[in-house]
Symmetry: C2
């Protein structure tokens, strides 16, 4: 069960560096060197083509296709699913020299170096290509996606002939011919494509969902040769002959603009074309360097706000910066209406679906870094409320049942045992609203968007749940909690607890409205909810059964869990992992083994509600039963271990949190990055070692420092202020870098943080 690091990239505080090219890492590097700007994402594939296995993936947030799934024809089981679809390769390039085509799978190359600069978001790749005839040319590929203008991207190629004069043939283009890797099918048709001077224009339309992507580019070359236009069904290219002079650089740049139209009903062809042309006109004269400079400026600001510095641990320093970089790349809330896919925009695994855990695992990062993004994540749920209401109906419930996995708001999980039994997407939304409002006091959001969602979710909970036989316990029967190794259970502690919170919070915000002077009639009219229903929410919250044993202080993961056969997880042979591949499906569900913390997750979400003794008892009971087959699991354990002052254990669990993908711990980084786990790594430092908590009455910290670190620091945005926390071996320093003073609790003492550094000794 021990995960093993596969160290490949060079350690560096702000860069990911590959020196020398090993084809075995080609697909992993494609994921690692992915770029994204929330709007679009592109894997770090070799744009000139690569004849070994390669996932030439280019994705747009919210651009998806739909396919039938063979259903079992029972009510409530979905019969079609949606997935983020692989689309246009706007970095398309071919390089031909003296009859040889550049292909790193076969070419003789020297001094290969690839480097992703986390500070600027620029990916560079350089090498010397030696032809069969002995000619050598140094080549540099550079690319970036603009963070400041999400439609824009840039590509630069430099050729430097080392030992010859000659002519190189380069094709550049926009290519919609790439298949979706998972299905091998191409889902685009391209009716419109044009070339004018050195400009290319192509529009791809998805076959079933009828969404559109317009991709445009402008090419600049030395000595402006005339390009030869080639058009295929789904591709348009320009091919140039470029003169090379020994030891002189020839530089090509390509400025790219991509625009999507997500809603098929809005794809009025002419309107969309006009919009694209307007945008193009506006941006076309911007030079590559100018665009890049804007984007670098964006990154500079972000790093200032959200950097984490670790001294004395180069690998984790690199790792955590990579996590922060990827979080910003994946989502920063520019646009409402999208969510965070399990693999971000870096691969096709999990179908680009956003899972139930956005609000529990990803939201905290944004709540303390980028409130606009946090709000937009919640707005995604508001905008998909109608879909969630339809889903509830399909599931014989009233109200709203949020999907376990989704792109457009529709449930995309074809496994009923997850899609129908996991209520935590819905309660997660409620928890997200609760934490967002608690931190921001954004009452406008609460009144306009939050309450309608809360009412519909509570309505679902009040109809999905049941009272037990003697009517004394309310709770949820036939559910699967976050721990997916206990499939269909009753009174799952996490689900009941989150259900109780949701029902009670909904009641409370309505009560608050009344205190603010809203009459029952106004509330009923505005929110379409009766007094009786709100009272029913309260009653069910009051009667919600939380399986708890006072003698042992243990929460029982679900009714009867403590009676289950015990499995010694440490005795499971390593070759049995991952269990889903080696154990019969149902065998996984027949014992007390858990995949990820379920009770512990509850104790983290409502941390201030539990005593340290309770936390300790439950941690010590559940930790040995957990196999951490979810990538989110170790961070939760690490955070709570820190709280329990099990510092060594905390650091062990932190282990691969920041480097899950860089070191390919799960051996599947090639399929895409573990985006939500990246979010957990951030939490691991801020909530874990930093001991930050925001669920109590006041923001609090209980910092500790891993033995091997000299110091670390992090920054958060909190109620308009930027707070910097620096932790060294002996003390912690707090400082407000920007904004007003902030009251906080550090260990057990309350302070008011201001612009002068406050130092507190480590206990």
């Amino acid at each position: 069960m021990a995960k093993i690091a596969d160290l490949y990239y060079k350690a560096d505080p702000f860069q990911i560096i590959e020196e020398g090219f090993d084809p075995n890492y080609a697909k992993i590097s494609e994921s690692i060197f992915s770029l994204g700007n929330e709007y679009m994402g592109v894997r770090g594939y070799f744009e000139e083509g690569f004849s070994l296995d390669s996932l030439v993936g280019s994705y747009f947030n919210g651009i998806y296709e739909r396919e039938e799934v063979s259903s079992q024809n029972y009510k409530g089981i979905i019969d079609n699913t949606e997935f983020m679809v692989n689309s246009v390769d706007y970095f398309y390039t071919k390089v031909l020299l003296d009859g040889e085509t550049l292909d790193l799978a076969t070419a003789k190359i020297h001094k290969f170096r690839r480097c992703l600069d986390l500070k600027t978001g620029v990916l560079r790749r350089s090498f010397i290509w030696e032809l069969n005839n002995g000619k050598q040319v140094e080549i540099l590929f550079e690319r970036f996606l603009s963070m400041s203008d999400a439609n824009m991207a840039g590509q630069r190629i430099r050729f430097m002939p080392l030992n010859f004069d000659g002519s190189i043939c380069v094709s550049l283009g926009l290519d919609f011919t790439r298949p979706h890797y998972m299905s091998g099918k191409n889902y685009f048709s391209c009716d419109e494509k044009r070339a004018e001077n050195d400009n290319l224009f192509i529009v791809g339309t998805t076959k079933n969902t009828k969404q559109k992507i317009a991709s445009m580019c402008k090419i600049e070359l030395p000595n402006s040769p005339i390009g030869v236009i080639e058009k295929e069904d789904n591709k348009i290219t320009l091919t140039y002959q470029i003169d090379l002079k020994k030891q002189c650089e020839a530089v090509i740049t390509k400025v790219i603009c991509n625009i999507v139209c997500k809603k098929s009903e809005e794809t009025n062809y002419k309107k969309f074309n006009v919009k694209c042309e307007d945008k193009w006109r506006e941006r076309t004269n911007f030079h590559y360097d100018q665009l890049l400079a804007e984007s670098i400026e964006w990154w500079e600001k972000k790093w200032k706000e959200s950097d984490i510095v670790i001294e004395g641990d180069d690998l984790n320093q690199q790792g955590i910066r990579y996590c922060i970089f990827q979080m910003h790349q994946t989502y920063h809330g520019t646009e409402a209406g999208t969510n965070i896919g399990a693999k971000g925009l870096t691969g096709e695994a999990y179908s680009g679906n956003a899972f139930w855990d956005t609000e529990t695992y990803c939201l905290p990062f944004y709540l303390f870094n980028n409130l606009k993004a946090a709000k937009n994540l919640l707005m995604f749920r508001y905008e998909t409320l109608e879909e969630a209401k339809l889903r509830a109906k399909e599931l014989d419930c009233r109200g709203a049942f949020y999907p376990i996995a989704t792109i457009s708001g529709k449930e995309c999980c074809s496994l009923w045992q997850h899609a129908s039994l996991q209520l935590q997407a819905s309660t997660g939304v409620a928890y997200g609203i609760y934490t967002y409002v608690k931190l921001t006091k954004d009452m406008e959001f609460l009144h306009q968007y939050g309450i309608p969602m809360l009412i519909e979710i509570s309505r679902m909970l009040a109809t999905r749940g049941d009272y037990n036989a003697d009517g004394t316990k309310y709770g949820f029967y036939g559910v699967m909690g976050p721990d997916e190794f206990q499939m269909m259970v009753n009174h799952n502690c996490y689900t009941n607890a989150l259900g109780k919170m949701t029902l009670r919070y909904t009641y409370d915000v309505i009560e608050q409205l009344k205190k603010e002077g809203f009459s029952e009639e106004e509330i009923a009219r505005r929110y379409q909810v009766s007094h009786e229903e709100i009272e029913d929410f309260k009653k069910k919250a009051d009667n919600m059964w939380i399986p708890y044993h006072t003698d042992t202080k243990l929460f029982e993961q679900h009714q009867g869990y403590f009676e289950l056969p015990h499995v010694d997880v440490d005795a499971i042979p390593i070759e049995d992992f991952p269990l889903y591949h080696h154990w019969t499906y149902d065998r996984i569900y027949r014992n007390d083994m858990i995949k990820q913390p379920d009770v512990l997750m509850m104790m983290l979400l409502f941390n201030s509600s539990f005593t340290l003794e309770q936390l300790q008892a439950n941690y010590e009971f559940y930790e040995p039963r957990c196999i951490h087959e979810s990538s989110l699991s170790p961070s939760v354990h690490s955070i709570l271990a820190s709280q329990l002052k099990k510092h060594k254990e905390a650091y062990q669990f932190f282990g691969f949190a920041t480097r899950m993908d860089l070191d390919n711990y799960n051996r599947n980084t090639g399929e895409g990055l573990h985006t939500t786990s990246i979010a957990a790594a951030w939490m691991n430092i801020v909530y874990g070692f930093g001991g930050m908590r925001s669920d109590g009455p006041i923001l609090s910290f209980t910092p500790s420092i891993p033995e091997s670190w000299n110091s670390y620091s992090f920054r958060i945005r909190y109620q308009g202020s930027v707070i910097k926390v620096e932790v060294t071996k002996n003390e912690t320093a707090f400082q407000v870098l920007e904004g007003n003073d902030v009251p906080v609790k550090i260990y057990e003492t309350e302070y008011t943080l201001g612009q002068s550094r406050l130092k507190v000794e480590l206990p």
Copy 2:
């Protein structure tokens, strides 16, 4: 929830009669008028063609096709399934007169009458066909499948022109072109077809399973006209012009011989051809009447042994004889290697699969009517033991895991929640061995076939089960019992009880071997089982936990069942049924509603192990929670209600048992007959009203009689003797018709039954 009879056929003690033709009942009648002889089955379709919806079904026991099912790619979930495939229409006929084709969907007809004679197994259909030109011809179609020689079938057609002389054109043939109704696909290719004189020969080979069906026929006609041969890819026909003389009968007969080759490795083409030709030569000169006479003789003998006579209730008289008739048609043990499909050989629903309940629901009928058939049913399990061992391996168990649904022995159920969680197919086999050996004392069977199966099943149970957390309770986790409305539960009472019986019985038979002088070494060598393993079986049997509450005398259906939310099943609106169509899939599993009796089934199987008080408590608890969505449910309730002297309730539950299909209670008889429910109807009378039990130390009876009946009688074969039981309003008479004296218990007194009638007063 009340089921409503759709009375359509005329009541008659020994015939099923349709008078006048209603096209709305066409497909139902196709099922009702199905013929079968275990080897083959043919629906009662109109052989001359029918242009409305029709399932022209012709099936052979053990002839199946295989198709991929989209799997969820988890271990232990099947990825292809097998189904009994629709095959050759050997009654193929076309009738053309004066340019009009006979088609009862459009023809003008008079005096339509169809009659299935249960005494002889002959199906006759007659009507007058009036042409547009006023010509009238009386037509009689007759068919039978031979019970004495299962390869043979006969078809006879009589034409009687009522008001004209003329010529009629008749095509007769063998037709493999019919699609499988459920998929719309045809699964046969026919390389070989020949016509010689009035003989036709065709061989169809299934596309994936490469099984073969040779179909041959010999046609006899008046005045021997020369037939015109027509061959299509999958069909061969002879077309004749037949002279008709006013008021004179013209009779055509067709003697058919069908031979199948089930194992593809044995389909050596030449060998199979020789076999078919030999058989054909042997039988070809038999005339239709001769074949029919042999078959009728078979039926006469059967009725003598197994008739049930009911006086004072014409509908149930007809119904129970129809059930007995269908049981014999479906299976009578001529050949080992086949089993009983859920729809017998009468339709494609349930894919022709035999389900887990063969040994619990069908076996009793054969145990008391046809021991050879009973043994062959068990031999099917022995012959598929290797498949069951492979399946166990797939499910991470040792030993043998028998399939929930199967044709060839392979698991065919693609729903993991049934295929992986239901253990009752395996324990059912063990129970079948136990009851068969108990009744027959067939120690040779036990030693040669029974023990190897018992050991492998016990081995599976000993690895599939687990001890609870504190090691005090052994049992099965993550199972579904016979009641499929409690999906994934722990310590299902039925499963644990049957598991306990199986493990203990296996231990006992091995102990018995030792007493008979077998050394441990001999046993180990012969059965490949160690002393330690046998001791482990015993230990697990001893530790098996049966959830029982001494205070209430209630067995709990599974651990935690009594805590489940209560559903008032009587309050469910009728339009919600069937629930699988109207309730969200998972909603069905979240309460205390049950689909069929589970605890009660256990109490029937081990009837003598429970007190009447226990039975009463459990009956009264579970009956109101049962919605009887399984067609087997009412009979079990009726039998136990009789035992509890709830005679009115017993008769109410008996209600539609004998006429489930005749009156189309479930509105799906058109898809095929409910074969296992037919078996339950027999049990309902013999075990229910007759109060017969064989699980105690001595065969016992506690007869009662439904109020509306004057008398009823049944016959059983028991240890070589035929016993007749007659029950009137006041008394019961017992008599051995054939064979030795039999000791029995009647009510509470022991007697020895002999050839003179023993009369006992009803209590």
